[in-house]
């Protein structure tokens, strides 16, 4: 037993005391800042593998961006990826970052359904569904509950059964082969319920957007409560996104 205490002691303090102010170590390609410098916009638009960049004015759609950073390498005077990891919002159009703007991505408070804070404010149980996800987003969602990020301190947990859940977290571009299991899982979650899209693949299909093997109809039928960009989503992006949805 003494040995166990020794092991625990040797780990030191691993948890991040305040995830709302924590910084991601090293370089992190978070919220892009686009300057008003004139560059060859055709080349800029053309290099993006997921058509996330549009011209005149230059915009980057974080719902499509894979955060590969290639545009910032080729046009460092035009695009800079800031370390800001708070990228989640509840309105799809707010994921589009325009040139000359440098303001944080936030939620539209008017669009947050009243029952979300009232019912889920103290406790939110989520069921995750991977629908073509490549296992990187899934691993990062697992990491939200490790000893570093410890999301359950906020009463937010992932649960095994949709019957125990208050909402779904979807990762992956939603393959045709997963469309039905996803719908059935959603139907098994009791009302009221929320839907969170985690990762670029889930939000727009990402690099798979024009794959004929997808079936994204689920998204047309239901209201999305939170978009969390990233490839994969960083645990801090996810936790902060959900916290701002719950207005904690």
């Amino acid at each position: 037993m003494s040995n166990n205490f020794k092991i625990m002691w040797h780990q030191g303090k691993q948890y991040i005391p305040d995830v709302t102010t924590a910084k991601v170590p090293g370089i992190f390609r978070g919220r892009p800042i686009i300057s008003t410098v004139k560059v060859n916009e055709d080349t800029l638009v053309d290099i993006c593998p997921t058509h996330a960049i549009s011209a005149n004015p230059v915009c980057i759609d974080l719902g499509k961006c894979t955060f590969c950073g290639e545009c910032a390498i080729l046009f460092p005077e035009k695009i800079f990826f800031a370390k800001d990891c708070k990228l989640a919002t509840n309105q799809r159009s707010r994921l589009i970052v325009r040139e000359g703007e440098d303001k944080p991505v936030t939620l539209d408070p008017d669009m947050v359904r009243g029952e979300i804070k009232r019912i889920f404010g103290g406790s939110l149980k989520l069921r995750q569904v991977s629908a073509g996800g490549d296992n990187s987003c899934e691993m990062e969602l697992n990491a939200t509950n490790n000893v570093n990020f410890d999301m359950s301190r906020f009463g937010i947990d992932f649960v095994a059964s949709p019957r125990h859940a208050d909402g779904l977290v979807i990762t992956g571009p939603i393959t045709a082969n997963m469309a039905e299991p996803l719908e059935r899982c959603y139907n098994a979650v009791p009302n009221p319920k929320i839907i969170i899209l985690a990762g670029t693949d889930a939000i727009s299909g990402g690099i798979f957007a024009d794959s004929p093997a997808l079936n994204r109809e689920f998204l047309y039928r239901h209201t999305i409560d939170l978009y969390v960009p990233g490839n994969p989503v960083h645990p801090l992006t996810f936790i902060n996104g959900v916290l701002s949805l719950l207005r904690k």
């Binding site: 092991i7 593998p49 955060f67 390498i73 490790n146 045709a176």
Partner: protein
């Protein structure tokens, strides 16, 4: 049998691959494999040639470091004798040919759908009507698990036939993750698009798959990478191995119910993936590996930082490992659980950890070296002989230590990084190229064929999980169903890598 032999990452003219009559092709390849455990099939696939189908078979010989390639042109509507009836290595490859092109086999023992691609030959085959092995016995019962599992993992369906708590049979139905990646490789023309696709084949093996792709692409474009590029790929590969193995040890502790191990291994993974973040801006290494260049040079400062991280990692890892490997309660869950014998892994043709756990020496880092393997790093595969959960866990433990050693060797001589410019890479025309890499799971194989104008006409990806899923089904036989999670985690196979 007439065949052409190449080394790993070699490009040859497509016309160099001999075209044989199917009988000769089959007899020849099966003959090459017969009684030769050092040889196995790394890839067997087909591509359309007008109305016909050209089958290409690639057998790797681990002793000679050569890959034997041969081909045969068949009419997809004829009924053929199967390789599988004589050698189970080909089971999934032939199921894939059947599913994609409607190729008929007279004597394939298990000709079931593999991954339900959107453009499968027979669209009447659907996820809902998969022909599961059934039992009519009143004493046995069936347990269905998935596609959505209890944890945060990828989807797949497991169907158990049990006698009480004991598993008699497990059948695994996959395909839920199918995104048509191979087709997208052909349709998307830009290099960055293809690299991004490679990064997303299996996100837990980003480095492994992207390395296989860029090595292949550089060979196809007749581009020789500088040492710095090979250095970065080798280093990233070993970092990925440490990170995922550590995470797996954490997962195995969870499945045993050993909370301390789960927390400590879980948090030990963090500094390693955070280092990937510091180096390339992504915890999984997305954006790091690029053909012909690197956007994030490995600086001496990063080298120093990595030394510090490993120095802090090692004592904590050793301490918890010493505890974990000496607890009777954890050992009793791992020893003799989920056993696959040497004979069985050889029959299935497993690769990577799932081969080395039972004494079958398969490791591309020694058998078909690439990047800095075989030169700066002379790899000695770690072999175990019991083929149980404990063997797989021991391999992880020892490979982590080994990778730390390799990284220290690499850090002794950090090359200058200069190439951050986009090189001009033009694929050769009418070529065939094959690339093998040893990811943390095992052997990754990518192959490409180009037409007369250098456009891709076939791109083939094989994740090690392709071979190894069958080993999981074998491993759980006669075990308690409650031991399924630990067996599953000890293999930790990829769904997306299999479904593509």
């Amino acid at each position: 049998m007439e065949n052409v032999t190449i080394h790993n990452n070699t490009t040859i003219a497509l016309s160099e691959i001999p075209e044989l009559a199917y009988d000769e092709f089959m007899e020849g390849n099966l003959g090459l494999l017969s009684e030769k455990p050092e040889r196995h099939c790394v890839l067997y696939f087909g591509y359309r040639k007008e109305e016909l189908l050209r089958l290409i078979c690639c057998l790797a010989d681990d002793e000679t470091h050569l890959i034997h390639i041969s081909s045969s042109i068949v009419n997809p509507s004829t009924v053929l004798p199967s390789f599988t009836a004589q050698n189970a290595n080909f089971e999934k490859f032939e199921r894939e040919l059947h599913e994609n092109f409607g190729l008929k086999y007279a004597d394939h023992p298990w000709l079931k759908p593999l991954r339900y691609p959107y453009n499968r030959f027979d669209l009447s085959q659907t996820m809902e009507n998969y022909p599961f092995c059934r039992s009519e016995s009143e004493e046995l019962h069936e347990v269905g698990v998935g596609p959505i599992h209890a944890g945060i993992i990828e989807p797949g369906h497991f169907r158990f036939i049990c006698n009480g708590e004991q598993i008699m049979h497990l059948e695994i139905q996959l395909g839920y993750q199918h995104r048509s990646i191979e087709q997208l490789f052909i349709e998307k023309k830009k290099l960055l698009e293809r690299t991004t696709l490679a990064e997303n084949i299996a996100g837990d093996t980003t480095i492994g798959h992207t390395t296989a792709f860029v090595n292949l692409w550089e060979s196809l474009c007749d581009f020789t990478p500088e040492r710095s590029l090979s250095f970065a790929r080798t280093l990233a590969q070993e970092l990925e191995r440490i990170a995922i193995h550590t995470g797996d040890l954490s997962g195995i502790c969870t499945d045993i119910g050993y909370q301390l191990g789960n927390s400590v291994y879980g948090r030990l993974r963090t500094p390693i993936i955070n280092f990937m973040q510091e180096w390339g801006g992504n915890r999984f290494g997305k954006g790091l590996i690029r053909a012909g260049k690197i956007n994030y040079p490995f600086t001496p400062k990063l080298a120093e930082r990595l030394q510090t991280i490993l120095k802090a990692y090692e004592p904590d890892f050793d301490e918890i490992t010493d505890k974990f490997f000496h607890l009777p309660s954890t050992l009793s869950r791992m020893e003799k659980t989920g056993v696959v014998s040497y004979g069985k892994v050889l029959e299935i043709g497993t690769v990577g950890m799932a081969a080395r756990m039972s004494g079958l020496n398969r490791d591309i880092r020694t058998s078909h070296p690439y990047n800095l393997y075989g030169s700066t790093i002379v790899h000695e595969p770690i072999l175990k002989h019991h083929g149980d959960v404990y063997s797989r866990v021991q391999i992880r433990k020892q490979e982590i230590k080994q990778s730390i050693g390799y990284i220290r060797t690499l850090l002794e001589n950090v090359p200058e990084f200069s190439n951050t410019e986009n090189p001009i890479l033009t694929p050769g025309s009418d070529k065939f190229v094959l690339s093998l890499a040893e990811g943390w799971r095992g052997e990754i194989c990518h192959a490409a064929i180009t037409d007369a104008s250098g456009n891709l006409i076939a791109y083939k990806i094989k994740d090690p999980s392709h071979h190894n899923w069958k080993a999981l089904a074998e491993a759980v036989q006669n075990n308690e169903i409650s031991d399924f999670p630990i067996c599953n985690k000890s293999f930790n196979l990829s769904y997306s890598g299999h479904d593509l």
